[in-house]
Symmetry: C2
Subunit: 308 residues, 2 copies
């Protein structure tokens, strides 16, 4: 991977353009789980007037409406979708295509359709097949989240200071891409970057999928036993936090990004091999060198963002 | 490793025995860095009357005295050590033997000597060579810490809710082992366990050394570049936190535990190999199985301690 993602196209000026009328846009949020619920709560905070919320569990949707987080829901019919200017589909990857297929007849003629999938791959084209010509699917991936899952864990604040990846394609309208970027800033995100679907999946295999593989692998090591808990400190706790994983969601993410994740595991094993050799030969200088480099890189990563 | 560490000997009743007179014990703390400074601050909070503090940097010792964290220091002479009943040596592993060699003539005839080293190995016997017959070296490893290093980062609170590993040997007096356990509880630790040096080093290779290797390896992957920071979320942040590492200290720890750490890397690679095969063959069930097991284990680890 070259360092040529379109970070130069960071779009920092757009917020004002949209801010005035953001409140008047009709939003529909599909799936009111941790991420979808967080969008709804953030939109509510932004004083958006119409927020249509849909969830496969009608009780969740009713609760969100009762709490005033959404203004309208679709229990018996999906007709309310006909009023949406922007549809944010916050479903698991494998559920998005089916949702579009079954509901596209209720989409307005011209809308921005966006998603939150942590994988893009061929899924975007799968969805495109069912969309109309005026339905611009500008993909997105908010790098935001927290422990747990479900509406109860959702919070407007998850976007604060987060990264938001806009995954654009040749057919997307420039103004719709620009709008999604502005919207991400309005949610409170700090960095908004634009990449292609291929770039997205390659990068995410490293920055997101791999840490999850590592956490699961560490916990599943043969060395883990019922006494381990007496011998852990912050390092182990942090390294394993994401092992408390949403299995259904992550099975989708891993299955659609298999090749890239294998490539990242191979690169990690290369690093572990360097460690093994340095330890086996008692190469103190080599060990110090690896640590010094990592320390600098880690500081650069997070001091730059003041994000610990 | 079998599940036979002496966790059954958890010593929860001892606190009251010592609490009354803890204040009257003369302590010496050697090394006022993050860990040593934290002991001194915790002892001060516990109203210990005499806390002798020593640091290779006299300015640090003077500052600690000025702040009232220690009551006495040794700038020109180490004679103050002659009053210490308990010496807590909070130096890096490779500095402990030299300290004892050079200062044992100032130790009282009968003392408890303890350390904080994250590795025991042959170092305990190295130190023993220079100790007198009444100097009982009961080794310890507080599983406590925080980011950064040095006196400025020290805090009494690092012990709160932490694990404390007492590393006992056949020659240690039972009452001194019992005292160190009580002391750990007095500091605020939640679990105190007793193991042999061999058990300690094997277990720590997994619970402490390995997560540090993993964090360094992840940051040092070829996939890291100057744009990576735009694509990270909490998972990457947590997985790499300890890559901001104290290089000199960790070089000591790794060099003295090489064989065990290599064994742990091998076990981790076995898990990564299972991931690679499951991904390569598209074995969704296998991936879900690994994640489900890890999720349960992770919950058990931390829900039991209510420690996230």
């Amino acid at each position: 991977m070259e360092e040529n993602y379109n970070v130069g196209r960071l779009f920092k000026g757009g917020l004002a353009i949209l801010k005035k009328k953001l409140q008047d846009i009709n939003f529909a949020i599909i799936g009111l789980g941790l991420i979808g619920g967080s969008y709804a709560k953030a939109l509510k905070n932004l004083k958006v007037k119409n927020i249509i919320g849909v969830d496969s569990n009608p009780i969740v949707a009713m609760m969100a409406k009762d709490e005033g987080v959404i203004t309208e829901t679709c229990i018996d019919s999906m007709e309310a979708l006909q009023r949406a200017d922007v549809i944010i589909c916050a479903l698991y990857p494998d559920a998005v295509t089916d949702f579009v297929k079954e509901n596209v007849q209720n989409f307005k003629k011209n809308i921005i359709f966006t998603d939150v999938m942590g994988i893009k791959g061929d899924l975007l084209e799968e969805v495109d097949k069912f969309l109309g010509p005026g339905h611009d699917f500008v993909a997105g991936h908010p790098m935001a989240g927290r422990e747990g899952q479900g509406y109860g864990q959702s919070a407007a604040e998850i976007f604060n200071g987060s990264n938001y990846i806009v995954v654009s394609r040749a057919q997307n309208k420039e103004e719709n891409i620009a709008w999604l970027k502005s919207f991400a800033y309005a949610l409170g995100c700090k960095d908004v970057v634009e990449v292609t679907p291929k770039e997205h999946d390659e990068i995410i295999a490293y920055t997101s999928n791999l840490p999850h593989v590592m956490a699961v692998a560490l916990v599943n090591s043969e060395s883990m036993n019922s006494n381990s808990k007496h011998f852990i400190a912050g390092g182990f706790r942090d390294a394993t936090r994401v092992a408390d994983i949403n299995v259904a969601l992550w099975a989708d993410l891993f299955m659609h990004n298999r090749k890239n994740v294998v490539a990242e595991i191979t690169k990690l094993q290369k690093q572990l091999g360097i460690w093994e050799r340095a330890l086996a030969t008692g190469d103190r200088e080599g060990i110090e060198h690896m640590m010094s480099i990592a320390k600098e890189k880690r500081k650069e990563l997070f001091n730059a963002k003041n994000f610990r």
